[in-house]
Symmetry: D2
Subunit: 431 residues, 4 copies
């Protein structure tokens, strides 16, 4: 039997930290009360927050130069689910898992669904993969998939996506995320307009196979693996395609997929305004699609994204429900630790955004009081809501300090023993 | 009477260079013929090319740090037209002038129209200006114009645009270019979505005043003068707004208005595909909106833009008619020289794009012969079409070497004498 | 007599906020104590922090497109000092002012020195200006100053710098900051190597005039006003020049003067390591040299800069004394408010950096415990030290909430009455 | 016996193209003569040009997402040399090969040296590899190599470099290129200054082992594989390290290793001026270290780099001898074709730079005639020197059209038969 973390171990961990947490919580409660804010509402909000995990994120990632594997890495989808369950157990914020096919293709979808359920997990959007050739594949994607000149390669890619939908349907998923790296490395390699026409044609085939209650998420990315022109390179293209395809097509924003200096929170605002904001792949980056831990490089940007989301929720009401997912590559950390911390960082931004006094803010904006408007956001961002997040976890039965708890119980060491490395195993932390 | 360049002086200039030009032309004709291409067709094409001049471009530009004026700068719209006429006389490629109001506001539009006509000029799209406060203006644009919180400021900006349309109508223009610097310098300063809603509301008012045969050009820009968020920051926003407003609203691409590393020719392809490519502001840049001479920093990029335009023209036929305009700031050169050279550079890219063997290119693309596809573009770009451009000018009665001719006849020195500098004149070369 | 803020008004303001501040301070003290940290040490540190003010920062800035002046702007150096004194009175953190010549050139330096002293101010490094032509100037800087081809222009620029040193000497300054915009807008405009040779030659002349106890600060900047190549574009060039010139030449880092994606804190570490870190111009930016309020766009980056400074101070001891200065352009806010908030933001980063447990950090680094090392910095950054900063101000006799106090006493309205705008006044917030 | 291209096949190819080439050459000779330039001098120059090949470049590269291998890829260093020999045979410009250890580690260096000699090849600088873990390696480089906290890992990396020197010595190489990906993915992961201290300490150990007539090339890179901070991230750091290490340490410029918007030709000028320009890794890029074919994205930039090199050669004479090498990743093209075209592109820039009229240029610069100075460079760049390059090849016994010749003789098909793919072969086109 696989090692799982016994609930009593989490309780022991929490018992040790409880007194300090309660003192910190009380201190923050007082400070917030003096500003007219009720800490309990925020804690309840925090408890309700969820962000999905990428199944591929629990393995060690790498670059084109090298991958340095860790110990105890999951070797199949069942072991990935086990790791995801631990992350959810300790953070209380990640009950959803996003699968990637064919990497995670189950021989028995129903069994996988049940296994996930028994671990307290269910399945978020499924991901297709047409950026790699699989062993035995009839047509290569070297020159593109949904946009390939070869009709056979395009059709193969369409059918793979349709198969993903079918698998997802059996697993209880309600969405398909389509990211393709298709593009060109050189001017002239492909006709830029022709490539998008073929993309739209392929996507119409996939769209037609979507169940009525599903959404399709179109993910744009500036570059890599294509280095001159990427077919779905920016939100404008993603938006135009989503419009062309129909109601169920939405745009997915990965924080690392934009040109330098881009104002990402404004893209969020635009997509929300025009009804096409589907969801997020959260991570952080300094240069390109670095896939670093969420909030590790520019935490204020993450807050500003959630500030837009809070604004949109206020305007659009319960109909506004973008999908939240982590998507990171963990090259030098324990993936479980990075995913736990990242889930907490995203949750932190969500709670900080809830701290913004939106009535005051609107007043300052109305009055062109630029200084006070800016300070209104900064004040919320500066608030250290850590005690709120920890209290939310304790109340939900998760760990006050997820990483400390995880280390204390020795989960990784157990898995290192249970899961000897496969010889030659590589594969990289992707998207 | 103002000094104008006598036609005979141009002819004298050409006579001196004629023999060498004919030899170079014959040499190139032979080389092209060996590749199966007919130089005469290209020369005819070159003769038909036109790019509009910005009235504000004939003055010396500057930065926020300083402006270093030149001598003989035009002091009013009539003198600007005189300079534009010389540029057209010597290049044969710039019979259109784009005016900017209120800078160029004529007291007698009909007289200005006649004056332009007598100089061989007519008027391209007119430009509104709501990024500066004019003396005596009722409402400031410090906090925005079409997006201002103040309804009065917005209405003032709308009325100014409508007045521009009316002036343009009297001058024979058929388009209005709307660029606003509106945005925010700080997170929180404005509600990003609210600002765009106000923008659209204002623009609907302007759109309603457009004559039936006019187009409205929406110009996006990443940043400056706003340094955190610009309301119309990217082509995606411009596109969504143009769609919202209607058929007569199109997107205008200024080559210097994008994030670092952006593939601009792909934006051109996208806007063409979705029917919203309105036109261009040509210039070049290395960092931001540097407004350098067209083709001076990245001539291959300019070629790639025209490569997309040639592709779109082939697909869409005569209906595809984007507007071409130069928009540069001449800080350290004689503005007339820079505009002449820049017009020639844009024309060069147009002719080079016509050299692309599109049937061969399509074949290489179809066959995934990436190397040969890329080389097909490079071969066209590498071709030095200077003799074609010079021959086109000579045949059209313009100058074989416009800058050399301009210097020889001493135009600037004449103007320095005729136009003593106004004390305290500043104002910068803008957009 | 000019309006000054009476001390009793500040005390009244503080009296109102005192109880809440003490409660917040006690709450934070408890939380810090539970982490093993002593709030009183931090408060003492905060009280000792100083950052200089730029004399030009108290006026409203602008862009090449427009400047929208505010009311009550200072019209001469004496009025600038008055505004600076208020900033120092309310923040307790800005007793130094940096002057810019010839803008601030005093007719009687001794009188200005005394006036500053009476206001509690003294003078930081002085700044030369060879990026603009002054009325009546013999040689233009249109084509460069310290790097100009014209020997006369170079000599004029050198002499101006020497005059700045002499003025600074009389004012008690101990440093000269040299920023030149010299460069090229086009490939070929200048010989890149020749320009730097001339720069070094000019700088040797200035260096020779430095008093023994002075430092010379070389400021690099990627671009603007030159748009193709800037002679002192990066820290590498600044460093090589400082090495060439000698011991008294140091490098000055302006946070907004780097290429996109640059890791600025690493530049700080490098310059400290090689003994050439002279000081800072603090501000924030999203795109270029946006000159926004410090910490307004990327507060974590500001913290990381101070994290390097704390590390260097630990290594190098009291000999490590970089100069701190604000350098911002206030286009849409009250400059006094922006400068007060910015001084507080820089102070905040300084205190947060002091919160880093450097022994624990070194241990995690030694053990390659990447996750905990990263969290050690994040934990310090997340701490809301606002009560420490406010308590430091109250104890120093400054205002608990500087902006609120400033608004309450009506300083700007008083100045609007005292200082009617000069007709045609412009000039922009620069560097 | 391995297939090699028979000389007579190349002669047959040339015979077919000879007449057209001679006509094109004569046409260009006339045009150049009319400008006062002698085509023969340029052709002689072109014949003397050499650029080294990277041994790893003859295999298909990839990204972290996928590698799509081609057919007939070389499976060992001997097969790589065979491919390099063909490139040199057909271009006449690439007689040097740069090896990468341990990838190319020969069991018998003397035999490899002889084999290369028999193919007309010799060895350029050798490259060490401490960015990957090799099977059986004692200490991991997961957390760095020359900068690792682990003294054992550092020592292992130093010893590997010393072993590379010894291998290179036996192979006739005269240089060692050191690129390390060492750095951090998160703020706090490593002490930025400590890491550089350890780097310098390790490098001193390697430097001490350099033979007297060797150079050490330090290669900087902004990011990847480290995504927050790279120890040798920019030319400033590389320069400071080269200075610290001594005379034999030089800086190597890879065109794809800089921040967006960086003026690379100015870095070249700076390193030349301060005596530390060691050499180049040529390639092209649009986003990051894209490793695309040289001159494929921004050919004008490549020309401007050679313009600086021509200026430095003029100033510094024969002592100025930077090393030229291609370093590209060929993901979607036949690597042999890309390397041939890229060698020609670099040679093209070299010849175009030789076309610059440097006396005229200096005169325009002296006179601040910005327009004509810029046009002087543009005129040289616009000249299509293809006939010169082809004639140089024909005269040297290489192919008039290397790619056409290579295809005609069917080299790749022969190799596909001779070299069946190794199962599971991957490895990516690196650096």
């Amino acid at each position: 039997m696989d090692y799982v973390i016994n609930t009593s171990l989490v309780q022991q961990h929490n018992a040790v930290l409880r007194a300090d947490l309660e003192a910190d919580y009380a201190a923050l409660a007082g400070t917030l009360a003096r500003r007219g804010q009720d800490i309990e509402k925020l804690t309840t909000l925090a408890q309700g927050f969820q962000v999905a995990l990428p199944s591929w994120g629990v393995g060690t990632g790498g670059t084109r130069f090298a991958r340095f594997p860790g110990v105890g890495e999951p070797r199949n989808v069942e072991e990935k689910l086990a790791d995801c369950a631990v992350i959810n157990q300790l953070t209380g914020a990640t009950p959803l898992v996003s699968l990637h096919f064919p990497w995670d293709k189950p021989s028995d979808p129903k069994a996988l669904f049940e296994r996930a359920k028994s671990l307290g997990l269910s399945f978020d959007a499924v991901n297709s993969n047409t950026f790699q050739d699989q062993a035995g594949q009839a047509h290569t994607y070297k020159y593109g998939s949904l946009t390939a000149m070869s009709a056979a390669a395009r059709e193969q890619a369409v059918q793979h996506n349709i198969e993903c939908i079918e698998l997802g349907r059996q697993l209880g998923s309600k969405g398909l995320t389509v990211w393709v790296g298709d593009g060109a490395n050189f001017p002239g390699q492909s006709n830029l307009r022709g490539a998008l026409e073929r993309y739209l044609d392929s996507m119409r085939g996939i769209y037609a196979a979507l169940p009525a209650d599903w959404l399709m998420y179109i993910e744009h990315k500036l570059f890599e693996p294509a280095f001159y022109a990427t077919t779905i390179a920016d939100w404008g293209t993603s938006f135009a395609c989503a419009q062309t395809l129909g109601e169920k097509a939405k745009c997915l924003v990965d924080l690392g997929h934009h040109a330098p200096n881009t104002n990402i929170e404004m893209i969020v605002a635009r997509l929300a305004q025009f009804g096409k904001l589907g969801g997020f792949h959260f991570n952080d980056s300094k240069y390109g699609d670095d896939d670093l831990d969420s909030g590790s490089i520019d935490p204020f940007q993450l807050f500003l994204v959630f500030n837009e989301l809070a604004d949109a929720a206020l305007r659009d009401g319960p109909a506004f429900k973008p999908a939240y997912m982590l998507d990171q590559s963990h090259n030098v950390t324990d993936p479980i630790e990075s995913l736990m911390s990242s889930a907490v960082e995203v949750q932190r931004a969500y709670v900080q955004a809830a701290l913004v006094d939106r009535i005051a803010l609107a007043g300052f904006q109305e009055a062109n009081d630029v200084h006070q408007a800016a300070q209104t956001l900064k004040r919320a961002f500066r608030t250290d809501v850590s005690p709120i997040l920890a209290m939310a976890r304790m109340r939900s039965g998760a760990a006050v300090d997820p990483v400390a708890c995880y280390r204390t119980v020795g989960y990784r060491a157990q898995k290192a023993a249970e899961r000897p490395a496969k010889a030659g195993a590589s594969g990289s932390g992707i998207v």
